[in-house]
Point group: none
Chain length 226, copies 2
DNA sequence: CGGACTGGTCAACAACTCATTAAGGAGTGT
DNA sequence: ACACTCCTTAATGAGTTGTTGACCAGTCCG
């Protein structure tokens, strides 16, 4: 899977970007300063760099040129300024694409995918396989014993998340945080309901389950049937 | 390695483009006038042409048509104007892709790579085929079950983009960014409307679709019918 | 064995997403 | 200048999904 280096001093944004991309399966490295970032790029040979132009220790354009001097890695810059000249100058300095703050998670994902695809390394993973359960994330389709499952968006996200951690127990709070993107609020009841629906579509009940097993007091896990 | 003909009158840009592509290992030929460029294309049978639309001796669209009359070589045009109509007309005249000046070096590399990848190195763009749907990007024509489709420029771009990613779900925001080239502004409603028109011309409705499936909450995908 | 807690399912409502039609505006070619 | 095509925006209606609360079943532990 593709590796990404993030160079961003604001903790909130850095962690958000890192988490979103890690969730997508990218191998993420974070840096908080220009120098640290440059080292990561040189040492790690990443497939993509996401660079904040507003670093405190060095002008973004300078760092951009330094990276360019040693590497042809694709670079997406994040900038607070939106005026056209600034963007053009950034692109001329060697950036491949840009994000204007504040940017949505959606845009981030789309830009990352687009850039990686352009350079022929779109990080598309093959389908997940757990027993006779097959999950294709890019097509957003899932099959059980060869038959397509009709899943709602959340159901699919939930199944995919569990399949990525097949065999591991996952708590409801973790699911709320990762699948529902609600680290704090949110009712665990919601998770129960979705799990129930998922079970039904997998042709199971809680008592008699092939794939989706509940671990009392802890959480659930998706297992490969014996 | 692939050969590229550059037709550009401004010395600075011509040399920059030539150097960048030569560094990448392409076999580069430069021309400063329309007539010289046409000769290079006819005589050299290049794999790719990069054509400036602002030549002094001949209107760019005219030259584009002349090249198209004798060759199906992929063409990337460089234009100073960014407005949509200009781009659309250029693409209609037979260009495969476009660069808006001022463009970054990386943008140039990315477009060149993308076009060459699309045509698969043989210098001849084969049509995209998805089921009984055939899309010829160079001729800007599409057929369904052997019948030609009458598509507007945007409709064609949209269909082509989806066909290049057949089977994959694409979000509306991604479509706005890649087909409309508006990563930020732009309403997703616009995409909805164009999708609706496309469906109609494909003889489908949202409820009963062979090719264009909406994935609720995520986006759309073009699929090969069962 | 029974109380307390955790988990499962059902049904209903609110919120959101999508499809389609229609209208308006910008640009093009005649 | 006129008719034309095309793109965008707005409005409306239909459809889907997510969440919540109620209620029941299962599990743990003293």
């Amino acid at each position: 899977m593709a590796s990404v280096v993030i160079i961003e001093d604001e903790q909130r944004i850095r962690e958000l970007v890192a988490r979103v991309l890690a969730d997508q399966g990218y191998d993420v490295t974070s840096s908080t300063t220009a120098m640290e970032g440059l080292q990561s790029v040189v040492g790690g040979s990443p497939d993509l760099v996401i660079l904040d132009m507003g670093l405190p220790d060095l002008d973004g354009t300078e760092l951009l040129k330094m990276i360019r001097a040693v590497s042809s890695v694709p670079i997406i810059v994040a900038t607070a300024r939106s005026d056209d000249r600034e963007v053009v100058r950034t692109l001329d300095a060697g950036a491949d694409d840009y994000l204007i703050k504040p940017f949505s998670v959606d845009q981030l994902q789309a830009r990352v995918r687009a850039v990686l695809r352009r350079v022929g390394n779109d990080g598309r993973a093959g389908p997940l396989v757990v027993g006779d359960l097959v999950i294709d994330a890019t097509a957003r389709e899932a099959w059980l014993d060869g038959d397509a499952l009709e899943l709602s968006p959340k159901e699919f996200d939930l199944l995919r998340f569990l399949a990525e951690r097949a065999g591991q127990v996952v708590s409801k709070r973790e699911l709320l945080a990762e699948v529902w993107r609600q680290p704090y609020g949110g009712s665990e009841k919601t998770v129960d309901v979705h799990l129930s629906w998922l079970r039904r579509k997998l042709g199971e009940t809680a008592a008699d389950s092939r794939y989706l097993q509940t671990v009392f007091g802890v959480g659930v896990k998706l297992v490969e049937p014996a």
